[in-house]
Amino acid sequence: MPVVEYRGMALVIPENDSEWKEYFAAARAHRLLLRACAACGRLRYPPSHGCPWCADLGWTWREVSGRGTIYSYEIVVHAIQPGFRDWAPYPVVLVELDEQRGQPTVDEALRIVANLVRPDFRPEAEENVAIGKRVRVVFQDLADEVALPQFTLTDEPLAGRVWRLA
């Protein structure tokens, strides 16, 4: 059973973890895998056992591009977890992936929480974090079996309004 120490936390992913084990193992291979419904084909996150759109129990892992747009963010200035104190201020971003945006309704999308990091996995500077900015997934290796999907800014052209808290 992998127990990975990260920033003072024990990340526990038991052998019988039916949701996350393969997700984090795929991340360690630097692939972002989401579950796709065997019946309707729609992707979902976080990993789960029934399809929220058609309630089918069949699913397969499907690799996604890991590219997306910042849908919302926050800057943690006062860290709660002791292991994050030397990391603050750090951004938490809610990333909307390019796949399945606006499906099956205009308000839906695949959205993932992560940190916005620089190439060295330090937190991105606050002045560079904004809703609407383009990002791509990167993988922070933590152990032989586990990596943490994170996001980093890209230089892709922006489409839509970019906004940050003044």
Binding site: V3, Y6, R7, G8, M9, A10, L11, V12, I13, P14, D17, E19, W20, F24, R44, Y45, P46, P52, Y71, S72, Y73, E74, I75, V76, V77, H78, A79, I80, Q81, P82, F84, W87, A88, P89, Y90, V92, L94, D107, E108, L110, R111, V113, A114, N115, E126, I131, L148, R161, W163, L165
Partner: protein, 404 residues
């Protein structure tokens, strides 16, 4: 309208001191709050035969405190949960009585939210192993309520132009109310500028956008309207109740729908439908002000203003004592103290009785000056209908409409 409208009443309210230094157990506090509520109702302890509590593995079970007061219970249930539980349990109490399982229910929350299990997530909670669904957020340094809600607030600012200054009016208003509340932990009035000058916790939240971890216990007594007629207090009738109404998913609500939509959107039609009224009929509101932003989101989702206009609504003066529809007249979680929602229901019960415990001589007997200067009155004149809005997180809401 619901078949149960006006058929059940809140007949007793009780609470301990709001402190950050209780120095005693949740059991001791629960017993004190329940006893106060029973006496407030004019009941003998043995006349309470049902008990409900809510907790997050941080409190004392209902049957233990019942035994301390010599109550033999015909029904009890300890429910897992924090915010949004109060209103839901009022509905469950009505259901238990309606089903014939018991006749009078005490529901309580007791917590050492500052000195024992800190609601903000520091201490023991921060050291817990991360597994299951927690893996989706906690490895990213996202664990506290503020950290969990801030993404919703930030997106609201992006979509609707809501500003920090607008929501800071919530803190300013609630601090004005707390200045007339002898029980409040923070009685000093603060300004919008004070809120904006306070240090950042998690942007867009300043320190003064956040509520106060508190030690206390609170209790409500619910019984039938028929039984209520013989009791000590003017009955406060339940017009409508909605419990733990959720968005399409609560585990990771980012995954579905617009994230600026909170669960009050779904609770609104249930609770107003039962009550047969509209938001315009409500005289006093009780929001779940864990944060300034949560008040704004709830008020707009329940229809007190249009979606997206919450910032303008809360900064207009409407929510202040003397305004058209005061909110959290006790000072609420932001200033009186944090109770996972029960204290705002207690306050509204007292408002509807006309016996708010302010600084007016004779206030508890119903004699008020309606002078809203600091250290004076906080009774709303002729308060007839009050609404409480419970919140567990953006995707879970409860609601309660009461009348005198």
């Amino acid at each position: 309208m619901s078949g149960l409208r006006d058929r059940y009443c809140v007949v007793g309210v009780g609470e301990t001191e709001y402190s950050r230094d209780s120095g005693r157990s949740t059991r001791a506090m629960a017993v004190e709050a329940i006893r106060a509520a029973v006496l407030d109702a004019g009941l003998r302890p043995a006349e309470v035969d049902g008990m409900l509590s809510y907790q997050l593995a941080d409190s004392t079970p209902a049957p233990w405190v019942a035994a301390d007061l010599g109550l033999r219970l015909n029904f009890y249930l300890d429910v897992l949960g924090g915010g949004s539980s109060t209103e839901a349990l009022v509905g469950l109490a009505m259901g238990a009585i309606e089903a014939g399982m018991c006749q009078t229910v005490a529901l309580f929350r007791s917590m050492n939210g500052y000195t024992e299990v800190r609601i903000g997530g520091t201490g023991a909670r921060a050291a817990q192993p991360v597994r299951g669904l927690d893996l989706a957020q906690r490895p990213y340094g996202m664990t506290s309520a503020g950290q969990n809600f801030a993404l919703t607030f930030m997106r609201h600012m992006y979509e609707y132009g809501t500003t920090s200054a607008q929501v800071a009016h919530v803190r300013a208003a609630h601090s004005r109310h707390a200045s007339q509340n002898p029980k409040a932990l923070l009685k000093e009035r603060v300004t919008v500028a004070d809120v904006l000058a306070s240090r950042w916790i998690v942007k867009p939240l300043h320190l003064l956008d956040c509520c106060l971890e508190t030690d206390n216990a609170t209790c409500l007594i619910v019984t039938s309207a028929e039984r209520a007629r013989d009791l000590r207090q003017r009955p406060v009738y339940v017009m409508g109740v909605a419990g733990r109404v959720s968005k399409p998913r609560t585990d990771f609500h980012w995954a579905h729908g617009p994230i600026t939509r909170v669960a009050g959107y779904f609770a609104r039609d249930i609770v107003f439908g039962q009550a047969g009224i509209t938001p315009a009929d409500v005289d006093v509101t009780g929001s779940y002000d864990a944060f300034t932003f949560t008040t704004m989101l709830q008020l707009e989702e329940y229809g007190f203003c249009a979606k997206g206009e919450g910032g303008a609504y809360v900064s207009s003066g409407i929510i202040e004592l003397g305004g058209r529809r005061p909110n959290n007249t006790s000072g609420g979680h932001l200033c009186e103290g944090y109770t996972h929602g029960m204290s705002m229901v207690i306050e509204n019960v007292r408002q509807l009785r006309g016996t708010v415990d302010d600084y007016c001589p004779g206030g508890r007997e119903g004699t008020h000056s309606y002078d809203y200067a600091p250290g004076r009155c906080r009774q709303v004149r002729d308060a007839t209908i009050a609404m409480n809005m419970g919140w567990a997180s953006p995707p879970t809401a409860s609601a309660l409409i009461l009348r005198r």
